[in-house]
């Protein structure tokens, strides 16, 4: 039996309850759209959590059973308790994988891990084309079957995010997006932080059905596999015994 990667999908879950347009696209919430796809993968099991849950659904117990956390948030970043942000951040530095979606870039969690504002330019409703600048990266695996005749992902309508995107230079830049109105954006970015791996992925505006799109979902499944924890070396800091005797 294949070992399971345990994924927790966190969603702010406000738009889908308050906005009719969004509710039509994601009647069960963005988290369940993602979970529904990932759950079918042999090597992935899923849980969901939302802002409204006790401790936002991110208690120490839940995190103990989470290998990779997926994060979607937009209009309620300031409603997420600092204590939970700190807890999740520590888990990432200890090795838990993290996948941050769309406007999750502006979440307290992502900003705190990046050390920068993570601000962007933005504008609504434009065509987006996603290009891969890192062929052979595991995060694009399997797209050859879905996109047999194309070497890009075209999204008919998306929110424009434009440079300068105030993030540290990604450790691995995978995707760069083109927008109809003239902007470009580093839309798929890998970061190593502490023992953890973080993938930022730009698609997923609440009024666009990107999480029903097999191309986007395939990238998410790949990102889960890329971000899964590796637990060596141990976090071993502070005043140490010499590994080799120093000459007196």
């Amino acid at each position: 039996m294949t070992e399971q990667i345990r994924v927790t999908i966190w969603n702010e879950f406000i738009h889908e309850q308050e906005d009719e347009e969004v509710k039509k696209i994601y009647p069960d919430g963005i988290h369940n759209a993602i979970a529904g796809f990932l759950e079918k993968e042999n090597d992935i099991s899923t849980k969901t959590a939302t802002l409204q849950d006790v401790e936002h659904g991110l208690s120490e117990d839940i995190l103990d059973e989470t290998d990779v956390l997926i994060w979607w948030g937009h209009i309620a970043h300031d409603k997420v308790k600092d204590e939970v942000v700190e807890r999740v951040k520590n888990r990432v530095l200890e090795g838990m994988g993290l996948i941050v979606l769309h406007s999750g870039a502006m979440s307290k969690l992502f900003r705190s891990l990046m050390g920068t504002t993570c601000n962007v330019k933005w504008r609504h409703d434009e065509k987006e084309i996603i290009w891969c600048v890192n062929p052979g990266h595991p995060i694009v695996a399997g797209l050859e079957n879905i996109l047999a005749n194309e070497d890009y992902i075209e999204l008919g309508k998306a929110e424009m995010y434009g440079e300068f995107f105030d993030i540290p230079e990604p450790d691995e830049l995978v995707f760069v997006s083109w927008f109809e109105g003239g902007e470009v954006f580093r839309s798929g970015c890998c970061f190593h932080r502490g023992h953890g791996k973080i993938f930022y992925f730009k698609p997923g505006h609440e009024t666009c059905p990107h999480f029903h799109d097999i191309r986007i979902l395939q990238v998410l499944a790949n990102a889960v596999r890329w971000a899964k924890p590796v637990s060596w070396p141990k976090r071993n800091f502070g005043n140490t015994n010499p590994v080799i005797d120093v000459e007196e």
Copy 2:
């Protein structure tokens, strides 16, 4: 007349007042040792500031006149007010250069900019040898005159800092140190954050005369030049007017 890079050198300034051993090495404080050297460079002017000053000597007015900030701190990281940390961090993201020395790695400022713990292994009193892994980098300019016969910097006695050093992967790794007891350490690390440039440099333990050492001081002068602000493009975020009309 050469344009001046305006440097403010910040020092915690506790050891030099309380510890006789340190006082002998730096009677006027680490900040003044560094300032005394940099001041002689044609293109650099200096100010100093310490923890004990009003607003730690880092008021908005002082920062308005600072192109590059040098930071030395060790035992009083928690005494630095959060408000000042936030103010300085914002300045770095807006373009002010920052040079962080030795245990400044564990300061609130550096940790906040890195997003990680910045923890290290450590041990006292060992020989250190600093190797350059990025020849041709501007931060090593001029060392050919000082180190004509050597391609490394040997420090007779230093504090050991060992890996894993919990920082993001440096954007440019310049130096790696060797320690007598068996450890290695990424001891010269460049980071780009927002519009600012940050250099972390490991030497400078308070009981070692590294800031009287022409090799270390030359690296600092180079780092000042490397870190000086460049002010394009403007920080331009948020909902923008299209630069190009989107087809209706």
Copy 3:
């Protein structure tokens, strides 16, 4: 007196002699258009060299007097002698700066230094917009005066170059371009190789007057300063004497 950076500008120099359209834009050749601008900078002196010169104008003597080499080539990459390519490559690894323009990406020299094909997608005559993804980089210095109201460089007409651009991941990515037809391109890329620094810059198709454009020329002048040689540590390879006695 300011120390001069000695720049040699190399041009294939065929289009300007054979094609009327190009001749009108660059009557004295692309090399002289660039030299005319750089020569006015206080800290830069220039020479030019072309494919037609003896040893392509790149003898050991000329290279001895070259701090930074600028390279423009397009339709005659295969006419450049392997011996000269090897000679120039060695100089770069020894510390000479190199700036490669436009289709110079497909030159033997650049391909040999990169180790990849450097192939691109391409198409003629489209609007291009160049965005900075690395604010604060010295290569964009001074653009705030030229582009006071814009945080991008718009080129009315250019040749489209599109991803995947088969280069190693740049050590510092400065510019990403947008094209009218839907593509993006990493158009300003820094590489460190050996002791040398290399900047690839995409603009400069022979039928476009980019080398009369102050925005493009300012980037070139900055790149010259960024790429200038730094000569420490010495190239010191092979079987060495121990720097520290190994215990017997």
Copy 4:
């Protein structure tokens, strides 16, 4: 049934036939020592090839059946035919994984892919300690079981390789080594080139039994998994049809 990664292990295979000391350590050759271990992994199948084989055992047919190539060479780099080097290089750029061991750093293949000399300092017979500077990287997976009490790999005796190691800055730096005599070395380096992934790993001098060492072999098995091909996007260069109609 798990999908197999097809590995071809290439060895110069001279020392083991000519040098009694080496023959004792690797009676069947370094290639068979590595193959013997990898073959036991469920997801890996192996072939071997040597310098002495027709086309050095690296015909197009063999390469068609190779997902990842492992390369060990030392004293006969110049005996490898340029035609084979070119063929293998192209395969790497097309997506085949490559793992280069020890003095394979100075092979024509690796030098051609790196674009630099790949020269090192060296000296015989010293203690080496390998530190991880990239915890959580898949190349160190599983070492927690083998090295439960240590966060480093100590090799009792090894050949010293020292900086400056003339390679491009690695895309992911995983290991840095310490040597008894005072040097450091970037000993585990990941590169992305074209569609291929390359891992350089320093251990493996012919007079040291490193390829019987479970810690080194575990890293090799991990590297095989990390380097396996991903085949999207297609290599799609040249004059393209517009993906979007350009406005006339």
